[in-house]
Symmetry: C3
Subunit: 289 residues, 3 copies
Amino acid sequence: MVKSQILLHLDTDALPSVFDRVVAVDAGVEHIFSYSGVTPTNVMALVHGCIFTRGPADLKSTAIFIGGSDVAAGDALLVAVQKHFVIDFGLTVSVMLDSNGSNTTAAAAVLAASRHLDLKSAKSLILGGTGPVGQRCARLLAEEGGLVRIGSRTIDRAEAICDAIRVQVPKANVEAVATASSNDAPDALDGCDLVIAAGAPGVVLLPKRHRVNCKSLKVAIDLNGVPPEGIEGIGLGDKAKNRDDMHCYGALGIGGTKMKVHKAALGELFLRHDATLNVTAIYAIARTI
Amino acid sequence: MVKSQILLHLDTDALPSVFDRVVAVDAGVEHIFSYSGVTPTNVMALVHGCIFTRGPADLKSTAIFIGGSDVAAGDALLVAVQKHFVIDFGLTVSVMLDSNGSNTTAAAAVLAASRHLDLKSAKSLILGGTGPVGQRCARLLAEEGGLVRIGSRTIDRAEAICDAIRVQVPKANVEAVATASSNDAPDALDGCDLVIAAGAPGVVLLPKRHRVNCKSLKVAIDLNGVPPEGIEGIGLGDKAKNRDDMHCYGALGIGGTKMKVHKAALGELFLRHDATLNVTAIYAIARTI
Amino acid sequence: MVKSQILLHLDTDALPSVFDRVVAVDAGVEHIFSYSGVTPTNVMALVHGCIFTRGPADLKSTAIFIGGSDVAAGDALLVAVQKHFVIDFGLTVSVMLDSNGSNTTAAAAVLAASRHLDLKSAKSLILGGTGPVGQRCARLLAEEGGLVRIGSRTIDRAEAICDAIRVQVPKANVEAVATASSNDAPDALDGCDLVIAAGAPGVVLLPKRHRVNCKSLKVAIDLNGVPPEGIEGIGLGDKAKNRDDMHCYGALGIGGTKMKVHKAALGELFLRHDATLNVTAIYAIARTI
């Protein structure tokens, strides 16, 4: 008899995310065990409870989802979780990481861009490119093959992210650009087909006049969900909306796709007992939707 | 496809109420997400997880229940929860408040009284009328239209509650009475059809001789579940039991109705996406049972 | 209509056991309410939530499972839970205690031994006999009727456990043996049919040469799941494996039976509203599998 699906929901915050639980219910997961305050230190028994309860043939019916608002804490937890697997005996379960929705959001944003551009040759600028979502967008675009400019207020941080991506993606064609003020925008945007704003809320990263003046620009995606817009003039609900001869997406416009990606990834978790769904794997799933 | 029902159970105590979870299961709710230690400060992300996960058409399948032993904390949490709704976009879910069972208990008690009395013209005395359940009973009776006397050991507190009820129910006919000792009972009871004891456990609020001597009294309801009785001579399990020519109810006698009211209210939550089930709405539901 | 099954899972640790939740799901329990950090001080409302929500006829559909890594804390919690039942009114639910898996492990170990030995007359040595699992094995064997030697590094502790078992099992034939070093093993083992190692991980309690030299020995069970073996030469996965002319069991070999016992015991919980499934009752269930 097939075991019922159990999702171990590990959250690094003080209260486990309602958002992630609702999505899991809507993805059809039968049992969700939510834990909050999970750290590399206290996670061992939780992982052992997954791998030592069902036989190897049934382990694909148990899976782990890592969430929480702190993306770095989620990254560290993923490493700790997989350290407690007993790989030699096949005692592993699939794991998905989506702290703060960063992986599914980045996958949905790049998927949206791919509908209008050939990402193998496109030139992209990521504003707020050193934050968790920005980094992930940059990595996915670098894997697609085009030139990716990573914008940050401090060039050193942008360079550091470029270096990290080059390690993850040897063929990456990435470059750091300083975007300390909006006066830097024209240079950073020069020749770009795509701009994604993934910065902190409350800051206009790209004023409308610079966006409109960039004649090469075909797609503009603003992932900021709280006014003012990160890319001036884009509506929260824009979904491939034509503004000033470019395809525009706002946070809610991307959000619907993000939700589909999230659910599809949860479904994939239960097909195997050894998947690691980090940003690249989640984007691969997104492309099949 | 209709989304499955999710009840977000927000408890202000350190451990989420087992009682409220069992009732939710027995009311047929499919998924219950229980959170404890919830405060106005940490509730925002929980509410956003409700309203930003399902489309507006499906939001009636998600609802919020607020419980916990501290009624004032529950009141404050209800305000905070609804502050995080995005009403302009229709992003709301239904909410039920029943901290310490106060709303369902008050509704069940007044419903019981209504089976024997015409509440439009009845005269009522609420002993322990300044506590959470007493206040709610008084408010419901005031809405029905009869005279309501609110008894308290300190007349000032009773006056304050009267003032509050007059704000909530403009037509209210309420008056404060001092019931510092049981010697005050004959005056307070004078001409009353109904007495409800809703005081703290361990105190006899109405000695038997005063109750029996009040010839106008037709219904006596004691909501105290722990001996000694709040109204002397009433049994814990009394349910419309005739004692001394009046209809008597004890805490367990009201409890069965309270449970039905609680389940019916949970069912109502999922019919709309914008209901607020506070004491008045819960009483309206109780009347349809 | 039959109420759906609710298991109140009370854990004395800071995070509720994933292991116990998965087993409950796989035993077919419909709703599992997991609580962590449960103590005799905060458990009353949780118990009341069980017994005051469903009518007496339905109370068998609610049950309590007590777990957590601290066996003594679990024992204390069981006492506290049952103190809050209202026995005179039949307001009780069934309770199972299995802190750290100690009861199901002991039951599975003794069940394994019973397949090869007549426990009424067998002589047994329990190494690490003063720990939680060792004590429980000793008690079950004493109830079966054979001689049971309880080995401990300090003879005083072994004597104390013997005294405790004599109180629980008046017919018990138990004796304390000092097993401070492996040099004590030959004397302690003398004439034994069965040896069970239930000590702390990381210590070899019985070197291979002593085991092989004990010609009376027919069954050797090592409950230690972490290398090195508690009984040298026994494999983790041994399940009635013949080694040196004796039937050998390792922790994983016992583990499969333990899991079946655990699930069967959970099933029994919901047949009545007043069962107490401690080690003796769990062993009785194990014998029916």
